[in-house]
């Protein structure tokens, strides 16, 4: 069964450093997403990406965050200057289509980001 793959599984970084979280969405999917989950809390939407541009972003997704699809397979989330409160699980997801159809919204296993 197709999977969304995320690397690394765990990343430790010092406050103020830049991090890049990587994702390989399912190959025939067109919509890409990042969500995060602070320990013990619910999953929160960060950003959606379609046709090589951001289609929607949340209040959390401020100027410190950026996303990129550098090639035909990878989808990355960059945090420019990490803060302690950025520590969370970051989930990538992809879907075939929007909510108008059967779109197979699938999540990866996540990257645990720890900012120290």
């Amino acid at each position: 069964e197709p999977e969304v793959t995320q690397t690394p599984s765990h990343q430790v970084t010092q406050m103020g450093q830049e991090v890049i979280l990587r994702c390989v969405p399912i190959s025939n999917h067109l919509y890409f997403y990042w969500y995060r989950q602070i320990l013990g809390q619910k999953v929160e939407f960060l950003v959606s990406f379609y046709n090589n541009e951001i289609s929607e972003k949340s209040e959390i997704f401020d100027d410190q965050f950026s996303v990129e699809r550098p090639d035909g397979s990878n989808f990355t989330l960059k945090i420019r200057s990490t803060k302690l409160e950025d520590s969370a699980m970051y989930f990538c997801a992809s879907s075939r289509a929007g909510f108008s159809g059967n779109y197979g919204y699938t999540f990866g296993s996540g990257t645990r980001l720890t900012v120290v």
């Binding site: 939407f45 919204y105 999540f107 645990r112």
Partner: protein, 112 residues
Amino acid sequence: GENVGLHLPTLSVQEGDNSIINCAYSNSASDYFIWYKQESGKGPQFIIDIRSNMDKRQGQRVTVLLNKTVKHLSLQIAATQPGDSAVYFCAEGGGATNKLIFGTGTLLAVQP
């Protein structure tokens, strides 16, 4: 505002019993609902979904019920097994957005 919430943060059941996990939503524009299972250290795993033009959908051992009148969603798990122990999230989507809005989660603990 948008709010998806759960009534019971923890549900403890005996193996073999049926489980019911509930969820309330407030965005009347949502027309798609999903239940996810999340095991420790893993990403949300799709269980079952339902569209707003339906009020019931069944899968293998799971049933989702949707009551749009009171904006309520439930997940029923038949013959609960120890492997069902996890956190269960409801999520809503649709309208003019492709994002999912998650509820706060219910921990299901299955006692052998």
